[in-house]
Amino acid sequence: MSDRLVHILLTSFTKILIPGIKVTIPLTVLSFAVSLVLGLLLALVQVARIRVLKQVAFIYIWIFRGTPLIVQLFIIFFGLPSLGIMIEAFPAAILAFGLNLAAYNAEVFRSAIEAIPAGQTEAAYMVGLSYPQAMWRIVLPQAFKIAFPSLFNNLISLLKDTSLASSITVVELFTSAQQIAARTYEPFALYCEAALIYLVFSTVLTWLQSYLEGKLVWKSRDARDVTAGGRTKSMVGL
């Protein structure tokens, strides 16, 4: 490797990493937050079978899962202005990613909620809980645990998908790599560098996922159980 290439790699590293930290990560986090809240609402509306809203949710999910993310980005950023709605690039990206991922997260939430046995809500009703109370106190916590791996999966995908924001003028990780690659005529090196930084970010997220999944276990502090027959067996987590 020539000295020049090494020099380029070293100086460009922070020039790509910093936008990664200042733009890509916030973009991912904010978009995901939007998709979580909206996704949960879309799921609840279907599960609770609220008449009109349920249909709206169904159509929403159908459209946002059925069209490409990049097309949605372009419609929001380039298309809306001709209808008089101007949104800046960064918020437009959050909106597009959030609305898109909400459709996927809605299905994750819905199937997780439907996986909770009816007996849980029946028992809740018989101890006097109302439907909202049963949902909030009993069903949703359990559903969240089931939904967690899929939700986190979507988060990790989103991290990579934020690179599409470069197509609507957001200067994030990938854009920076593109700019330096063009300037230095070293596309291979620069794009590999960008890939490496994405890999580092997603690896951190994957570790975070394992850590959090370990915390999402309902286990008493005394993890050994004495069963009816007097045996002792250690609990392997639930």
């Binding site: 018989m126 101890v127 006097g128 359990q142 645990k145």
Partner: protein
């Protein structure tokens, strides 16, 4: 105390309950026996409004002789009415249905804290007492997944008792348990009976029914075929169908 008249329930074309009349007095322990598909569980679920009856009249009159009688049209009962009548009932499910995300103590406390809005310390005190009553005081901080089936069912009983219901409904409480664990649950129920708890127990445990119940009801094909004192129903049934069933079950 509780009376149900002319209860009908069909699932699609299947008529499961064909006009059930049942009356329970305070302090009575009633065992309901009968073959699978006879409608025993459906009857219990209609009484607790977990299923909506096609028709039926329910009347609840409690203890204090105030002429306060609550009347319910079982098909048209409103959510508010259902909530009101359920306050008088405790339900123990065949599959326990403990809240998986709460400890034993949390399970027992849940109704008190969330539905009755009781202050947490008071709810905890009552709940610990109930857990002690079913013999599980030291397991208060265990999660359902860490308890045996018999222990889970006893927590479920404590959970129902904590709300101070006027009548306890048991839907085959030991059917999901192996014989060893069945005993501990039956002991708990036996103790409740000796304390005068009003109970309606759907069960397959014939010897338990004979021993603990004050009245036995035999159901088949959605009707009550025969009812009476255990000795009478078990030893000298007046109906042929009852005889057939008892012969098959022993």
């Amino acid at each position: 105390m509780l009376s149900v008249k002319d209860l009908h329930k069909s699932f699609g074309d299947d008529e499961i309950l064909r006009g059930i009349d049942i009356e329970i007095d305070k302090g009575e322990v009633i065992a309901v026996i009968g073959p699978s598909g006879s409608g025993k569980t459906t009857m219990l679920r209609c009484i607790s409004y977990l299923e909506k009856a096609d028709s039926g009249r329910m009347e609840f009159k409690c203890c204090d002789d105030k002429a306060q009688v609550e009347e319910y049209d079982m098909h048209h009962a409103t959510p508010a009415e259902i909530r009101r009548i359920r306050q008088h009932m405790g339900f123990v499910f065949q599959g326990f249905n403990l809240f998986q995300n709460k400890t034993a103590l949390g399970n027992v406390m849940e109704g008190l804290v969330t539905a009755r809005r009781m202050e947490k310390n008071k709810a905890e005190e009552i709940s610990r007492k109930m857990l002690g009553k079913v013999g599980l005081a030291e397991r208060a901080d265990y999660y359902p997944g860490e308890l045996s089936g018999g222990q889970q069912q006893r927590v479920a009983i404590a959970r129902a008792l904590a709300l101070g219901p006027d009548i306890m409904l048991f839907d085959e409480p030991t059917s999901a348990l192996d014989p060893e664990l069945t005993r501990e649950v039956l002991d708990t129920i036996r103790e409740l009976a000796s304390e005068g708890t009003t109970m309606l127990v759907v069960t397959h445990e014939m010897s338990f029914a004979r021993e603990v119940a004050g009245r036995v009801i035999f159901m088949e094909d959605g009707v009550i075929v025969e009812q009476g004192a255990p000795a009478q129903v078990f030893d000298s049934p007046s109906q042929e169908r009852t005889r057939e069933f008892l012969k098959r079950s022993t």
